[in-house]
């Protein structure tokens, strides 16, 4: 147990460092730039209507005060962290002025979490299951086809696959909803209609994430298992007459699953990137769509808020995946 708490402590420290570095990077990128958020905000406000010069100057003063951009960088940085730690107050967004940017982010976050968690869980289990079987039963025709297919699809970026799905289900065979997270005509809340509608709308984005992600796990697991199969202990188990099912699942695949879990923690950040792009394609109201909308409106606050929350969320998710290790690896529990 001591080893496990040491492991958890180390991972926790790592998570803190990642959050700190990532959020600071996001802050510095936005604040070291020559572009002043007040100016960009003013220009986007004033293009929509005509104000008198005095009104614009007043607005500039108010906005400068609101964002505190006239203060030295260090003070802004300390302020930023203080407000972030006190519940994430980033100031009002421009996208939906005066709704706070954090409210927008919190509205979008559950949808991203829904997409990301379902697709990662399904992909990881299916990919490893089939990959493990393909590594063990190396002569199976069907599994070989799987291998060739995942080799072909695996390198294609998320965007292209999502886009092709969109074209196919939008124009060629329109059976599934291709936009939004739920139908407009259902009452949102915990009722059957709403949940069904959410599931229906999630099918396409989740499937396109699964299609891309599957190959990574399949090929990785196949390589791992086809090496483990040649180990002496597997040969011994086979000779000793251990049931085949038991050899495949408890002797071979369980051992191979440990590095795959480590790999999951490593690639979670990039899967997240894939998720937010997929969202954008299907107009899913998650963080990705919010990020793109915010960039297009020139909304400094929301862009920074989304990036900060994204970095934090991914770091926390990686930490959680790392905590799962003792489930698979009894060595971590025992020592």
């Amino acid at each position: 147990m001591k080893a496990y708490s040491w492991f958890v402590l180390k991972r926790f420290a790592q998570m803190i460092v990642v959050i700190y570095v990532g959020v600071s990077t996001a802050f510095l990128i936005t604040h070291l730039s020559p572009i002043n958020p007040v100016d960009s905000m003013l220009s986007s406000i004033t293009t929509r209507s005509n104000f008198s010069p005095e009104a614009i100057e007043e607005m500039r003063a108010a906005l400068t005060d609101l964002y505190g951009v006239d203060k030295p960088l260090l003070e802004q940085y300390v302020n930023f962290w203080q407000r972030f730690l006190q519940g994430g107050d980033f100031g009002p967004s421009l996208l939906a002025f005066p709704t706070p940017a954090m409210t927008l982010v919190m509205r979008a976050l559950p949808w991203t979490v829904l997409l990301l968690s379902t697709s990662v869980l399904i992909t990881w289990f299916l990919g490893n299951l089939f990959g493990g079987l393909a590594g063990y039963f190396q002569n199976s025709r069907l599994l070989k086809v799987f291998g060739v297919a995942s080799m072909g699809v695996q390198p294609i970026p998320y965007y292209i696959v999502a886009f092709l799905f969109l074209i196919f289900f939008g124009f060629v065979w329109p059976v599934l909803p291709i936009s939004g997270a739920y139908a407009m005509d259902v009452q949102s809340g915990w009722n059957i209609d709403f949940i069904l509608s959410v599931i229906q709308h999630a099918i396409l984005p989740v499937t396109s994430l699964i299609v891309v992600g599957f190959g990574t796990w399949f090929l990785g697991m196949r390589a791992l298992v086809s090496n483990i199969v040649n180990e002496d202990y597997v040969t011994y188990a086979e000779l000793a007459g251990v049931p085949r099912r038991r050899i495949v699942f408890s002797y071979v695949m369980r051992n191979a699953a440990v590095p795959q879990l480590t790999a999951l923690a490593l690639v979670l950040g990039s899967i997240f990137s894939g998720t937010i792009i997929t969202e954008q394609v299907y107009n899913y109201p998650g963080l990705g769509t919010l990020l793109v909308d915010a960039v297009n409106t020139g909304d400094n606050t929301t862009v920074l808020a989304v990036s900060t929350v994204a970095i934090t969320a991914v770091a926390v998710a990686i930490f959680v995946v790392d905590l799962l290790h003792p489930l698979l690896d009894p060595r971590v529990r025992a020592s």
């Binding site: 886009f163 196949r222 090496n227 950040g269 997240f272 894939g274 792009i277 991914v314």
Partner: protein, 319 residues
């Protein structure tokens, strides 16, 4: 070198297919040097013509001949991928060799930086960079930013090899002969990691091209430079699917998919070539494999990179 390529083509189907696909793409992109048209000009040919003998890939709603447009697009996209690959290779080789050879606290510091960079979600950061720089985000700047995020996986791989090389006899000889650490790393150890550098470079190209296409499709790039991403952006912008100009979308998608699959197969087959165990398995005989794997383990010769990384090459995502 040539003999290696010949053997790979003869025994490795993936390598052959990958090499052919990449050769087709590179050849196609080279056609851009003979292009009769300037790819940035619009309304040169009748718009929205389907593929025909006159316009092989059809023309788009902006009055551009898609054939020549595509040659420029794939050339720029490939060049971008190559640029990022070279830049990030420089970082990953340096970090990997230094961490592996010097070890100690240098190793620990470099690897903790490595772990932090791995965990950061890159896409929001790239969008942030675009958001700040806007029109100033040139291809070179974008490549540098991406290179700063594209090295950690490969650095770790290179480090794992360099750690093994440090205890080899020739390293001791070099040290006793008075060779400087820098010389040992970059003259003695570098050749050993070169195959890994090559195969990860291809995986890295897939990653960076994928990201740049995604950024371009969302409009977060210089839209006047023809590339696969900007082609898709303009196609979306003119609602190509609704109008029915499917070839406008099909051309870049097919090109980019062929590029990715080709590069991926090359990377995978090179990885397999580097790992002697999987090479032996291909030649046949599980007994041989287990015999060599114990040999490798006991003799400590040519440390094999972690198995998971074997096929995956670069597990960074391809948005």
């Amino acid at each position: 070198m040539l003999a290696v390529v010949r053997d790979l083509i003869r025994y490795n189907k993936e390598f052959t297919i990958g090499a052919v696909l990449v050769a087709i793409i590179v050849g196609f992109s080279c056609l851009s040097f003979f292009s009769p048209v300037d790819p940035t000009l619009v309304y040169l040919v009748p718009p929205e013509r389907p593929p025909s003998t006159e316009y092989w890939f059809g023309t788009n709603s902006r009055g551009q001949d898609l054939f020549w447009q595509a040659t420029f697009a794939i050339r720029n996209t490939l060049a971008f991928g190559l640029l990022v690959a070279v830049l990030s290779r420089i970082i990953s080789v340096t970090v990997g060799l230094v961490a592996g050879y010097i070890g100690g606290w240098v190793d620990r510091v470099l690897m903790s930086i490595n772990d932090v960079v791995v965990a950061l979600p890159i896409f929001p950061i790239l969008v942030l960079v675009y958001f700040v720089l806007r029109a100033d985000l040139t291809t070179l700047k974008l490549a540098i930013v991406m290179a700063c995020f594209g090295w950690p996986f490969d650095a770790r791989l290179i480090r794992s090899i360099a750690v093994g090389l440090r205890h080899r006899e020739f390293t001791h000889h070099a040290v006793f002969a008075g060779m400087s650490a820098r010389k040992i790393m970059f003259e003695e150890h570098l050749p050993y990691v070169m195959p890994i550098v090559l195969s990860t470079a291809m995986a890295n190209m897939i990653w960076s091209i994928g990201l740049s296409v995604t950024l371009a499709v969302l409009g977060f790039t210089d839209l006047n430079i023809p590339s696969i991403g900007t082609m898709l952006y303009w196609a979306n912008n003119h609602s190509a699917m609704v109008v029915g100009t499917w070839w406008w979308i099909a051309v870049p998608v097919v090109l980019v998919v062929v590029t990715f699959v080709g590069l991926y197969l090359l990377a995978v087959s090179l990885n397999e070539y580097i790992d002697p165990r999987s090479r032996l398995r291909r030649m046949g005989g599980a007994a041989l494999v287990s015999a060599t794997s114990t040999l490798v383990a006991e003799g400590g010769a040519a440390p094999v990179p972690t198995l998971g990384a074997d096929v995956r090459g670069e597990p960074e995502g391809r948005p």
